[in-house]
C-alpha cells in the first residue's frame, strides 16, 4: 500500500510518501497506526498523539475501523487548516 504524510506528520515521519507491505495482521486503519508506532523513530513520534491524526483511504476520510488493503492509498495528516 502507498502511504502519504502531510504537514507535521510528514516532517516527523521524515518523508512525504512510501510504499509499504505491512504484515497480514494489519487489516484496519487502527492496526496500521499501531504498526506505524511500532516502527520507531519519527514514525513513533508522528503517531504518538493519535487524537491529532486524521486518515484518508483512497482520498476519502475514514475512521479507525476502516479496512486497509494492498493497493490502497492511505494518507495521514493533522486536522485541516485551510480556508
Amino acid at each position: 500500500m502507498k502511504l502519504l504524510y502531510f504537514a507535521w506528520l510528514r516532517e516527523k515521519a521524515g518523508l512525504s510518501q512510501e510504499d509499504v507491505t505491512p504484515p497480514d495482521t494489519v487489516a484496519t486503519v487502527a492496526d496500521l497506526i499501531e504498526w506505524q508506532i511500532g516502527r520507531g523513530g519519527g514514525y513513533t513520534e508522528a503517531f504518538s498523539d493519535e487524537a491529532m491524526v486524521r486518515v484518508a483511504v483512497n482520498q476519502e476520510y475514514v475512521g479507525v475501523d476502516h479496512p486497509v488493503a494492498a493497493g490502497d492509498e492511505i494518507a495521514f495528516f493533522p486536522p485541516v487548516t485551510g480556508g
Binding site: 502531510f6 507535521w8 482520498q59 476519502e60 495528516f77 486536522p79 485541516v80 487548516t81 485551510g82 480556508g83
Partner: protein, 150 residues
C-alpha cells in the same frame, strides 16, 4: 467550478463570470479569506499552504455538490491557493449565485465553513521565532457543525 492554484485571482472578474449570461441570477454572495499579519503577538513573515492534490479536488467537488443539493443555486465557485503567501494575500474565494438572496448568502457561508474543516489544506506560518504549523480551531468545528443536517 473548482480551482486549486498557486496564482492569485481577480475577485471582480470571477464574480462576474459566475452570473454572466444567466439573467435569472438576482444575487451573488462571496467570502474572500486573506493572510493576516499576526500569529498571536508575533508578526507573520510568510504563510505556506500545503495540500493533498488528489484529495483536494475530490473534497472541494463534494463540498460544492453538497451546497448545490441544499440550495437552489445557479452557480458556485471555490478557488483555493497553495504555496507561499504573504500577509494581505488572498487565500481563498468562495461564491454562490442564485435567483434568491438568502440562498446565495447561506450557500457561500456554508461553502467556507465546510471547506475549513473538510478540505485537506494545512497552513504553516513563519514568524521571527521560526516556522510553525497552524493548529485547527474548535471554533471552526463548531461553525461547520451548525450545517450538519439533523
Amino acid at each position: 467550478m473548482i480551482r486549486v492554484q498557486a496564482e492569485d485571482f481577480d475577485v471582480g472578474r470571477e464574480l462576474e463570470k459566475l452570473s454572466d449570461g444567466n439573467l435569472d441570477v438576482g444575487g451573488v454572495s462571496c467570502f474572500v479569506g486573506l493572510v493576516r499579519d499576526m500569529a498571536g503577538d508575533k508578526p507573520i513573515e510568510t504563510m505556506t499552504l500545503e495540500h493533498y492534490p488528489e484529495m483536494t479536488e475530490k473534497a472541494l467537488a463534494e463540498i460544492e455538490a453538497e451546497a448545490r443539493s441544499r440550495w437552489p443555486l445557479a452557480d458556485t465557485l471555490i478557488i483555493h491557493r497553495y504555496g507561499e503567501l504573504a500577509p494581505g494575500d488572498r487565500i481563498v474565494l468562495v461564491a454562490a449565485a442564485s435567483a434568491h438572496r438568502q440562498a446565495a448568502i447561506e450557500a457561500a457561508h456554508f461553502l467556507i465553513d465546510w471547506l475549513k474543516t473538510k478540505a485537506p489544506f494545512w497552513k504553516r506560518e513563519v514568524t521571527p521565532d521560526g516556522g510553525q504549523w497552524v493548529d485547527a480551531r474548535s471554533s471552526d468545528d463548531a461553525a461547520a457543525e451548525r450545517w450538519i443536517e439533523k
